[in-house]
C-alpha cells in the first residue's frame, strides 16, 4: 500500500473521523443551526418582521462561526502530548488524515450549516405567525447575473470560507489551548500589522488600483485568488504540522 495516499485507507480514516465529528461536534452544530429559531422567537415576542438581508446574514454568520469552531471541537486534542498519541499513531498517512480533516472542517461543516440553518429558516417561514414572512431568496444569490459572474461569486464565497477554515485548522494544530480564540487573536493582530504597513508604505494605492477599478468581475477574481492562496498556505502548514508534530 502507498505511503502517501491510499483510497481504501482514506475511507477508513473518514469513517473513523465521522464518529469523532458526530460525538464532538454534532450537538454543537445542531445548536448553531437552530439559531434562526431564536431570531424567530424574538420576532414573535416583539412582533416585528426580520428582513431577508438579516436572515441571510445570520446564515452566513453561522457558517463563519461553525467553521471557526469545527477544528478545535473535532480535532482539538490531536496535537496534545497525551491525547494526541492515538491520532499520531493511527496507521494512516498525514495526507489521509489531513484530507479527512479538510472534508469535515472545510466542506461538511459549512455545507451542513448552510443547508441546516436554511432549512430551519424555511421551517420557521412555514409557520403562520412570527417575523419570517417569506422564504429568503437564497436561490437568487447564486442564480442572479451572468453565469460567469455567478460562478465567481460562488468561488469568492468558497475561497473566503476555505481561507477562514484553513486558518483555524492551522491554529488548531499550532496552539495547545484556547485554539479558536488564539487563532482569532492572531488573525486580528496580523490584519492590524498589515493595515499599519499599508498605511506607512502607501500600499493602499496599490490596493485601490487592484480592487477599486470598475471591473467588479476582475475584483472578485483577484480577491478569490488571494483567498485561495492564503487557504493553500494554511492547508500546507496544517498538513506539515500533522506530519511533524512531536508528542
Amino acid at each position: 500500500m502507498s505511503n502517501t495516499f491510499n483510497i481504501k485507507r482514506f475511507n477508513q480514516v473518514l469513517a473513523y473521523d465521522w464518529k469523532r465529528f458526530i460525538r464532538n461536534f454534532g450537538i454543537t452544530l445542531l445548536v448553531w443551526i437552530s439559531i434562526p429559531v431564536m431570531f424567530w422567537v424574538t420576532s414573535l415576542v416583539f412582533d416585528f418582521e426580520v428582513a431577508d438581508a438579516v436572515r441571510v446574514f445570520i446564515i452566513f454568520g453561522l457558517i463563519a462561526i461553525t467553521v471557526m469552531s469545527a477544528p478545535s471541537r473535532i480535532y482539538g486534542k490531536v496535537n496534545l502530548p497525551r491525547e494526541g498519541v492515538g491520532f499520531a499513531m493511527l496507521p494512516a498517512t498525514s495526507s489521509e488524515k489531513f484530507f479527512s480533516m479538510f472534508i469535515y472542517c472545510s466542506l461538511l461543516t459549512p455545507f451542513l450549516t448552510l443547508v441546516g440553518a436554511w432549512l430551519v429558516d424555511c421551517l420557521m417561514t412555514l409557520l403562520p405567525f412570527g417575523g419570517f414572512k417569506e422564504f429568503i431568496p437564497l436561490k437568487e444569490i447564486f442564480t442572479s447575473g451572468e453565469f460567469g459572474e455567478r460562478m465567481l461569486v460562488f468561488l469568492a464565497l468558497v475561497a473566503t470560507t476555505w481561507a477562514e477554515s484553513s486558518a483555524f485548522m492551522f491554529g488548531n494544530m499550532l496552539f495547545k489551548r484556547r485554539k479558536a480564540g488564539k487563532t482569532f487573536g492572531w488573525a486580528l493582530l496580523i490584519l492590524f500589522v498589515l493595515v499599519l504597513i499599508f498605511e506607512v508604505t502607501g500600499g493602499w494605492q496599490l490596493f485601490e488600483y487592484i480592487f477599486f477599478e470598475d471591473d467588479s468581475v476582475l475584483n472578485l477574481l483577484i480577491y478569490s485568488i488571494i483567498m485561495l492562496l492564503i487557504a493553500c498556505g494554511f492547508y500546507f502548514g496544517t498538513n506539515r504540522k500533522i506530519k511533524t508534530q512531536k508528542y
Partner: protein, 274 residues
C-alpha cells in the same frame, strides 16, 4: 527488529540520550529499567515515532518510525503511562481501531476482557483506572501488532490484576512479537521480562539476558556479606550479595538487587558486560 544507532535525543535544554546504540530482537519481552527521568518513556516514544532523534537513527524493521508510514504504525502499539481515556466503550474503541490493523482479532479481545475481568461494553469513563488499563492492554494484544510498548503497565493495578497482567502477557508473547515493558516497579514484572535493559542518564548501562547475567554475576544469598561483593543488601534472614562469577555458578537473579548493583557499579558493570 528495532535498531537504535548512535542516537542523540533531548528536550530543549535537557539532553536525554547521547550516542546510544541498542537493538530489540523479535520474540522477547524486554524490561526497560531505570531511575525516574533517565528517558525510558522517551525511548518508547522514539520507537513509536512520537519523537524524532536529534542525531543517529531509530529504525523499526529498517524504517524510521517518525516517518509515520502506515505500514510501520500497523506494527506498533504504545500504551503510555498517562494514557488518554477514549470517549467510547472499549469494544467500540477497538472496533474503530481494528480496521486499521490487518491482524486485529475481536474474538481475542473478548476473551482477553474475560480473562482480565473487565466489561468491554461499559464506557471507559465509567471504569476504574485499573480497569481502563486492562481494557487498553486487551486492545493492544488483540490488535496483534509486532511491537507492543508498555509504559509502567502495572501502575494502578491491584495485586490480583498484576498477576493477571503477567499471565496474559506471558500467554500472548510469541516469537513474532517484541514486547518492551518500561517500569520502575521491577517486582511486578519479575519472571516475565528477559532480557533486561538498564538505562542511566545519557547511556545504556546494561543490556543482557538472564542467562548472560547469571553467567557473569553471582547472587549469593547467605548469612553474611560475601567478600568482594559488588553490592549487598540485607534481606530477611541474612544478606544477598552480588559478586563476579568467574566460575559461572548458577544463581537466582533478583531484578531489584541487580538494578541496585548496576546503579552502584556503573563502570564495573559496563566492563563486565562490555
Amino acid at each position: 527488529m528495532i535498531e537504535i544507532k548512535n542516537l542523540d535525543f533531548g528536550y530543549k535544554s535537557q539532553p536525554v540520550f547521547k550516542n546510544i546504540s541498542l537493538s530489540f530482537e523479535k520474540g522477547n519481552i524486554y524490561g526497560l529499567l531505570g531511575e525516574n527521568g533517565v528517558g525510558k518513556t522517551s525511548l518508547l516514544k522514539l520507537i513509536s515515532g512520537l519523537q524524532k532523534p536529534a542525531a543517529g537513527a531509530c529504525e523499526v524493521d529498517g524504517i524510521a518510525p517518525f516517518n509515520r508510514y502506515p505500514e510501520t504504525l500497523q506494527k506498533i502499539f504504545f500504551i503510555s503511562e498517562d494514557f488518554a481515556i477514549p470517549d467510547n466503550t472499549p469494544i467500540n474503541n477497538v472496533r474503530e481501531l481494528g480496521v486499521f490493523y490487518p491482524n486485529y482479532d475481536e474474538k481475542l479481545f473478548t476473551e482477553l476482557c474475560e480473562e482480565l475481568e473487565v466489561d468491554p461494553k461499559r464506557k471507559y469513563g465509567e471504569l476504574s483506572f485499573g480497569q481502563q488499563k486492562k481494557c487498553l492492554i486487551a486492545t493492544a494484544l488483540s490488535l496483534n501488532t509486532d511491537y507492543l510498548l508498555l509504559d509502567e503497565p502495572t501502575n494502578g493495578l491491584d495485586i490480583p490484576s498484576k498477576t493477571l497482567f503477567r499471565q496474559v502477557i506471558a500467554k500472548h508473547a510469541n516469537e513474532n512479537r517484541t514486547i518492551i515493558i518500561s517500569t520502575h516497579q521491577v517486582k511486578d514484572v519479575e519472571n516475565l521480562i528477559d532480557p533486561i535493559i538498564i538505562l542511566d542518564h545519557d547511556e545504556v548501562l546494561l543490556k543482557a539476558s538472564f542467562r548472560e547475567i547469571t553467567d557473569k554475576l553471582y547472587f549469593d544469598y547467605g548469612m553474611d556479606v560475601a567478600p568482594e561483593a559488588l553490592y549487598s543488601e540485607m534481606i530477611p534472614g541474612g544478606y544477598v550479595s552480588v559478586t563476579r562469577n568467574p566460575n559461572h555458578y548458577d544463581s537466582k537473579v533478583s531484578i531489584e538487587v541487580l538494578f541496585n548493583t548496576v546503579m552502584k557499579n556503573k563502570e564495573t558493570i559496563k566492563q563486565i558486560f562490555g
